[in-house]
Subunit: 298 residues, 2 copies
C-alpha cells in the first residue's frame, strides 16, 4: 500500500467512523446543553485515528473491522474527553482547538468539565452495551474494556497528563519526555490497536507484536507532532504552532535536538513497519500508516 | 433489625470496605502526586454507603457480599470522582468537604481534575479486572459495568449535575428538583444496589424490586440531606450548612415546603421498606437502612 492508497483507505475508514459516531451519539434536543457540549467536541473534526487503528488492529489478526467499530468509537470518545479536559483553564487553558473555540469557551467551564466526564462514561456505556457487541465473546469484551481503561487511566493517559502538568515546572530531559508521551498519547493509540485485535480474535503472539508496533508508532507520532509544531506548519496542526516550545513543554527536539529527533522518529517507524510486515498482508494498512507518520514532516 | 443493630452492621461493613479500598488503591510513592491526589479524596472519610448498598444488594438476592466488594469499591471511586469534580471552581467552587480542604485546594485545579478522571477510569479498571472478579460470570460483570456507567453518565449523574448547573439560573420547581436528584444522586445509589444484585446472581423479579427500592431511597436521601442542611446540623452533614439554600439551589423544602418535604420523605422510606420486606429476611438490612434515612432528621 503506497501513500496515495493509504490516503484513500484513511478517507474511506474515516467516513465509516463518522457515520458510526452519528449513530452512537445522534442529535437529540431533549438531552439539553450537556449533550450539545459532548457532541460539539466529538464532531469538531479530527482524523479519527484511534477508531481507524482499532479497525486495522482487528483486520491485522483476520477479524472483521466493522465488528469493532463500537470499540473504535468508544476510543474516539475517550480521546475527545481528554482534549476537552486538557483545554480547560486548570490545565492547558487553550481557547482554540482544530481551528474552532474550545468546549469551555462555548459552553462554560463547568459544562465543559461535565461534557468530558460524559464522553468518558459514554465510552464505557457503549463498550459494555450488549446491543453494540452482539455475538462477541463477553470475555474478550471485558478484556478490551480492561485494556482501554488501563490505557486511559492512572497507568496511561491520566498519569501522562499529570506528569506533563508537573513537568512544566521542571527542566526537560529525555527520560521525562519519554515517560510523558508514552503514557499521554502512546498508551491510548496502542490500546486502540490492541482492543481491535482482542475483539477481532487475535492470539497472544499477534497481540504482543501489535503492542510492540503500537509503542513505536505512539512515540513516532509524538516526535512528528513536535517537529511539525517547531516547523510552524500551522495548517497541518490545525492550531497555533510553536505553542509547546513557548510553554517550555517537554518535546523531543528540545531534549535531543532536531536531527536526532528526526532520526529517532525514522527508526521507530521502520521498526513498526517491520513488525507489521511480520503479521502478513492483512497488516498492510498498519505498515503504510507507520511509514506515513514521519512522511508528514519531510 | 433495629436502628442499633443497623449501626453495628453499617460499622462492620464500613471497616470491610475501608480494608478493601486500601487493597485496591494501596499507598505507592512511585506513582507521584496524581495518585496522592486520588487517595487523598478516596480516604477523606465518608460513610461508604454505596459499597455497603452494593453488598446488601448481593445479600438480598442470596449472593455473597464479599464477592461484590470489588464492584462496591469501584462505586465508591466513582462517587469520590464526582465529589472532586463537583467541588472544582468551574462547578460548586467549594473549599471544604467533610471538614477538610477539597482536592483542588490541596493539589491545585489541574491535578484535582485529573485525580477525578483517574478515579473514574480506575473504577472501570477494577470492575473489568479478571483478578478482581474471579469466578464471576463475565456476562454478569458486563451487565454490572453497563448499569454502573449508565448511572454515572449522561443518563444519570453527569446529566443530573448538568441540570443542577443550569438550574442555578432558574426558578426551582418540583419537576426540575426531582429530575436533578433522581439523576444526580439517585441513579448511582440505585446502581450500587443493582450491580450487587446482578453480580450476586439475582433474577429479574428481584432486580426489578430492588430498582423500585433504589429509586425511593435515592429521593429520600436527598430530601433528608436537604432537611438536614436547612436544620443546620453541621455535625451530621460534615460541611457548612444552609449552603444550598444560600446558593438558590434546587431543594425539596424550597419547592414543597418543610412539612410536605418531610411527609414525602417518610412515604418514600415506608414504600422502600415494604419492597425490601417482599424480598424476605435476606433484605432486612435494606429495610432497616430505608427506615433509618428519615430518622436522622427527627
Amino acid at each position: 500500500m503506497n501513500s496515495t492508497e493509504l490516503k484513500v483507505y484513511l478517507g474511506e475508514r474515516r467516513e465509516v467512523v463518522e457515520k458510526a459516531l452519528l449513530t452512537f451519539l445522534p442529535e437529540d434536543e431533549s438531552l439539553g446543553n450537556i449533550y450539545k457540549a459532548m457532541r460539539y467536541s466529538l464532531f469538531a473534526g479530527g482524523k479519527r485515528l484511534r477508531p481507524i487503528l482499532c479497525m486495522a488492529g482487528a483486520e491485522a489478526v483476520g477479524g472483521a473491522p466493522e465488528k469493532v467499530l463500537f470499540c473504535g468509537c468508544a476510543m474516539e470518545m475517550i480521546h475527545t474527553y481528554s482534549l476537552i479536559h486538557d483545554d480547560l483553564p486548570g490545565l492547558d487553558d487553550d481557547d482554540y482547538r482544530r481551528g474552532v473555540l474550545t468546549n469551555h469557551k462555548v459552553f462554560g467551564e463547568g459544562m465543559a468539565l461535565l461534557a468530558g466526564d460524559g464522553l468518558l462514561t459514554q465510552a464505557m456505556v457503549l463498550l459494555t452495551d450488549p446491543k453494540a457487541h452482539q455475538g462477541q465473546d463477553p470475555v474478550r469484551v471485558l478484556q478490551a474494556s480492561q485494556i482501554m481503561m488501563t490505557a486511559a487511566g492512572l497507568m496511561g493517559m491520566v498519569g501522562g497528563q499529570a506528569a506533563d502538568l508537573e513537568g512544566e515546572k521542571q527542566k526537560p530531559d529525555l527520560e521525562k519526555v519519554q515517560f510523558i508521551h508514552t503514557k499521554k498519547t502512546g498508551a491510548l493509540l496502542t490500546a486502540a490497536i490492541l482492543t481491535g485485535a482482542v475483539l477481532g480474535g487475535g492470539n497472544e503472539d499477534q497481540i504482543n507484536t501489535l503492542r510492540e508496533y503500537g509503542s513505536r508508532i505512539g512515540l513516532a507520532f509524538q516526535i512528528a507532532d513536535d517537529l511539525l509544531d517547531l516547523m510552524g506548519d500551522a495548517e497541518a496542526m490545525g492550531k497555533s504552532t510553536g505553542a509547546d516550545a513557548a510553554k517550555g513543554k517537554m518535546t523531543y527536539p528540545a531534549v535531543m535536538g532536531l536531527t536526532q529527533a528526526r532520526q529517532t522518529g525514522e527508526s521507530l517507524v521502520e521498526e513498526a513497519a517491520q513488525l507489521a510486515r511480520n503479521l502478513g498482508a492483512k497488516a498492510e494498512p498498519l505498515e503504510a500508516l507507520a511509514l506515513y507518520i514521519m512522511e508528514r514532516t519531510h
